[in-house]
């Protein structure tokens, strides 16, 4: 009954091999343009410059004023930027595999995203998701930027917190505001994908011997203004997927990210 023949062993190996390749396939996202082993690649840095309107975001100490006259200080500003795509003039695109970044205003090291292995070419646009796609919201244990230990995960109602803006305002009923935005299921799907334009027909030239840089500004005020004017007196919290998170996401999907300039380097 406990027979263990050579062919059983071989069979186990075969099964192990099969399931192994099966697993690997799930994780590898192939670029949409076929790239042979000889394809030359280059790199890109995306530099993210957190701002409040026209001034740099200084955490905790600096007081800012909204267009409607509310005062506020920011103590935390975090966001996921994921699923980066670069598009070429002919509409073809490069899709970065495993493309998940967590940017934290308090951690300068997270303000620069180093993108590697991009096929050389002339790119005319960039598209990315603010937040995390629905599939990864319900996947199992994750590493890197998606590690739940980063504090950007709701465990009682599963899902990543896409963006966090926290701080103080004298107009807020408790003196503080907390905007945690997430949700990936209708009717409260707060996943937003944006394509901030390259200005004046600028091109991103990926070459083997260049290290170009996209300089993007990220304006906190855009979360508080737009389709919904956020007043701290009446709208000081968002703690889960839901109507408030949707309003804030709709706001920031309109122009929070702006490509300021591209360095060819």
């Amino acid at each position: 009954m406990k027979r263990f023949s050579v062919s059983t062993f071989a069979c186990t190996l075969a099964i192990a091999a099969l399931s192994f390749t099966g697993c690997k396939k799930d994780k590898e996202v192939l670029p949409t343009t076929p790239t042979g082993p000889t394809t030359q690649t280059g790199t890109l840095d995306i530099e993210l410059d957190q701002r409040v309107g026209n001034t740099p975001l200084v955490l905790a100490t600096q007081t800012y004023t909204t267009p409607t006259g509310d005062q506020f200080r920011v103590t935390k500003f975090n966001y996921y930027l994921s699923n980066i795509k670069l598009t070429r003039a002919d509409g073809s695109e490069y899709v970065q595999p495993e493309s998940y970044y967590l940017v934290e205003a308090e951690d300068n090291a997270t303000h620069r995203l180093a993108i590697k292995d991009i096929p050389v070419g002339d790119y005319t646009g960039i598209t990315f998701t603010i937040g995390v796609d629905s599939a990864r919201n319900v996947s199992g244990a994750q590493k890197g930027a998606l590690d739940p230990n980063e504090g950007m995960f709701w465990s009682w109602n599963f899902g990543y917190i896409f963006t966090k803006l926290e701080g103080f305002s004298p107009q807020a009923p408790t003196g503080a505001f907390t905007y945690h935005i997430g949700g990936f299921k209708k009717p409260y799907d707060a996943v937003r994908t944006v394509s901030p334009a390259f200005r004046n027909g600028a091109k991103l030239l990926i070459r083997t011997d260049h290290a170009p840089e996209i300089h993007m500004t990220v304006d906190v005020l855009k979360m508080l203004t737009g389709a919904t004017t956020v007043r701290f007196a009446t709208f000081a919290t968002s703690h889960s997927a839901g109507p408030n998170a949707m309003l804030l996401a709709n706001n920031y999907a309109q122009g929070m990210f702006v490509v300021d300039h591209i360095h060819a380097n």
Binding site: S7, I15, L18, K143
Partner: protein
């Protein structure tokens, strides 16, 4: 008997992979990792073994973590404190869960069984993955009240865990990925599929149900299986089975979806091992199965989301059941008790 399971398995789900090797497959009588072989009478799993291939070392690590009180803030509560093997990993007789500093939760602790077959967990379906689920009890202030960062700090500072994790995952430090994958090795292994009912449907060892049990089985198939469906005895949907007229205390599924149409709906629980998992319902309101059946017979309360199955076109709400029928149903429900599961030493806390 286990060979039968293995053979039917080869013919079933894993059949494609195993087909070529069928004749030579002979599994050890007692596989090291429980639940690694899927029961023949179950549907396809959500979390298939190859998603986190069972290994003896990883399973044992997950088991240690499951029974380790250090996962809680003050070291007083482990997963196993609320989920006890003797009662199919429910909480024996406890109406609401009790966490650190003896704080009461808001819900009854469910059995942990056949979790591989679930895509959503809890009474409301909030957690959606078996691997990341433990984040909920660990961080819940009325359960373990701990942070993930603190748990990892404690594990990394331990004299033994770093070595055991390294053995499974390669050299450290222990991170959340390793912690959650190891815990899932244990929780996914909690397979209950060897009750007398299972043995009878699989035709094993000449087990047959008594006349009363058989009548109860037929009644459940007729009157309960629109919700308690398949051999898992749940269709994994959310339903309102008429416990309350309104649901201020716990809105159930609506807590997650914020939809009024989901108010009062709760996950249909499995009926496996139900003899052991008292008290019953999301708030543990019924102490006995007799009370549960009395509820279905004459206790169902109307509310806007009450399930259609409990709202007949004529006659009173609920499912009319004679006393004899109730007795037969309970006799059948007892056949779903899996003694092997609650006695399996491999699932118990190790000395």
């Amino acid at each position: 008997m286990r060979r039968t399971i293995a053979a039917s398995l080869a013919g079933g789900l894993a059949g494609l992979l195993l087909a070529a090797c069928h004749a030579d497959v002979t599994l050890p009588a007692e596989p090291v990792v429980p639940g690694a072989v899927l029961p023949a009478n179950f549907p396809a799993p959500v979390y298939a073994p190859d998603a986190n291939p069972p290994s003896a070392a990883a399973f044992a690590l997950g088991r240690s973590l499951f029974y380790d009180e250090r996962l809680s803030r003050d070291g007083s509560v482990s997963c196993g404190s609320c989920h006890q093997q003797a009662v199919a990993f429910a909480d024996d007789g406890q109406r609401l869960s009790q966490g650190v500093r003896k704080q009461l939760g808001t819900r009854n602790t469910p059995a942990l069984q056949n979790l591989r077959w679930k895509s959503e967990f809890f009474w409301d379906g909030g957690p959606k993955n078996i691997e990341t689920l433990p984040l909920a009890p660990i961080t819940n202030p009325v359960e373990m009240d701990e942070t993930l960062a603190n748990v990892l700090r404690k594990l990394n500072a331990d004299t033994d865990y770093p070595r055991r994790f390294a053995q499974v995952f390669g050299s450290g430090p222990i991170d959340s990925y390793q912690l959650l994958r190891a815990l899932a090795q244990f929780t996914a292994a909690l397979t209950s599929a060897n009750s007398r009912y299972d043995q009878a449907v699989r035709g094993e060892g000449g087990v047959v149900l008594t006349a009363a049990e058989q009548r109860g089985r037929t009644l459940v198939a007729q009157k309960c299986a629109s919700c308690h469906a398949t051999d898992l005895f749940t269709d994994e949907t959310y339903r309102n089975n008429g416990l309350n007229a309104s649901f201020e205390a716990d809105s159930g599924r609506a807590h997650i979806t914020s939809r009024v149409t989901d108010v009062g709906r709760f996950k249909v629980p499995s009926l496996r091992n139900v003899e052991l998992t008292k008290p019953y319902m999301h708030d543990g309101r019924f102490a006995t199965l007799e009370q549960v059946l009395a509820h279905y017979d004459h206790g169902v309360v109307a509310s806007p989301t009450l399930d259609a199955a409990l709202r007949p076109t004529s006659g009173p709400l609920g499912i009319p059941l004679t006393t004899a029928e109730q007795t037969d149903i309970i006799a059948f429900l007892r056949t779903l008790t899996d003694q092997d599961f609650i006695r399996d030493q491999r699932l118990a806390e190790q000395p």
